[in-house]
């Protein structure tokens, strides 16, 4: 059961993120949506979509986004199971940075 999903999405300017968030929040299993635009080009824009819920259906989300003309570039974070596990810093992350 997916509880959190973070997606990097490329979309046309229209429909806008307000409409996109409404459409995504109406999906079964989705309880909350957050969309942040981080890059705008002449015809398209890149947005980060964070979905929270009890049982998010990834295929439904993908289908909905495709229907709205958007494309998932990457799935950047997934939290699944009965409890959300947050990303934690580990010694490996520090050594990787060094």
């Amino acid at each position: 059961m997916i509880k959190r999903l973070v997606l990097d999405v490329l979309k046309p300017h229209n429909p806008g993120i307000v409409e996109l968030s409404k459409e995504l929040s109406e999906l079964d299993g989705v309880e909350g949506v957050n969309i942040v635009t981080y890059e705008i080009d002449q015809k398209v824009e890149n947005v980060k979509i964070i979905l929270g819920g009890n049982s998010i259906n990834f295929e439904e989300v993908k289908k909905k986004l495709e229907n709205l003309g958007a494309v998932i570039h990457s799935v950047d974070e997934v939290a699944a199971g009965t409890r959300i596990v947050e990303e934690v810093r580990t010694p490996q992350d520090r050594s990787a940075r060094l």
Binding site: L10, P12, N14, P15, D41, Q42, K43, V44, E66, N67, L68, G69, V71
Partner: protein, 192 residues
């Protein structure tokens, strides 16, 4: 309701509302002016028959309606196809199956309907007194028809003023004057 919601979504996504508003005013104006021209022209020619005015008016309405629909449809369709292809190149994706693709197929049909119906409706509204000419004299029918056409022109001007958030009365009078000028020119011909 679902069907209407879908249409509303397509209108919003394709952003066809402003262009259809322009088409509506431009062509309803054409329709009212054509009707006014036919009615006053028939009066100038002398001894007009209601049946001839109705036939000429309906013929002109049908022609304006058809040409409006086809003209708007083909031009919008070409524009929308170009826009969709350009967006598809930016997205690196075929958008035909998406709501954007469907909305861009819907936009030309909507523009065509507005462009076709507005002149035809405006023209038919101006001809209404002739349909009722069995109730009153032909002279009164002509006078009523001219008044209706001028009122339609005034309302169209008022609508223009409303959408541009400017003086509705002033814009209404502007279009009304165009109708009055046409009427006066035709009446001058009668007096010559």
């Amino acid at each position: 309701m679902k069907f209407l919601d879908k249409i509303r979504d397509y209108i919003r996504i394709s952003r066809v509302a402003p262009i259809s508003r322009r088409y509506f005013i431009m062509n309803a104006f054409d329709g009212a002016m054509t009707s006014l021209g036919i009615v006053v022209g028939a009066y100038v020619a002398g001894d007009p028959e209601p049946f001839f005015i109705i036939s000429a008016g309906l013929g002109a309405s049908l022609a304006m309606g058809l040409s409006g629909f086809v003209g708007a449809y083909v031009t919008e369709e070409a524009e929308r196809t170009r826009e969709l292809e350009s967006l598809e190149r930016s997205m690196l994706k075929n958008l035909e199956e998406s709501v954007i693709g469907r909305a861009s197929h819907f936009a030309p049909i909507w523009a065509g309907i507005v462009d076709g119906l507005s002149p035809a409706l405006a023209a038919v509204v101006c001809l209404v007194p002739f349909f009722l000419s069995f109730l009153f004299s032909i002279t009164l029918a002509i006078q009523l028809s001219v008044v209706i056409a001028l009122v339609v022109l005034f309302l169209l001007g008022g609508f223009l003023g409303k959408i541009s958030s400017r003086n509705m009365l002033l814009h209404g009078i502007k279009l009304l004057c165009v109708g009055l000028v046409l009427t006066l020119i035709l009446l001058v011909f009668k007096s010559i």
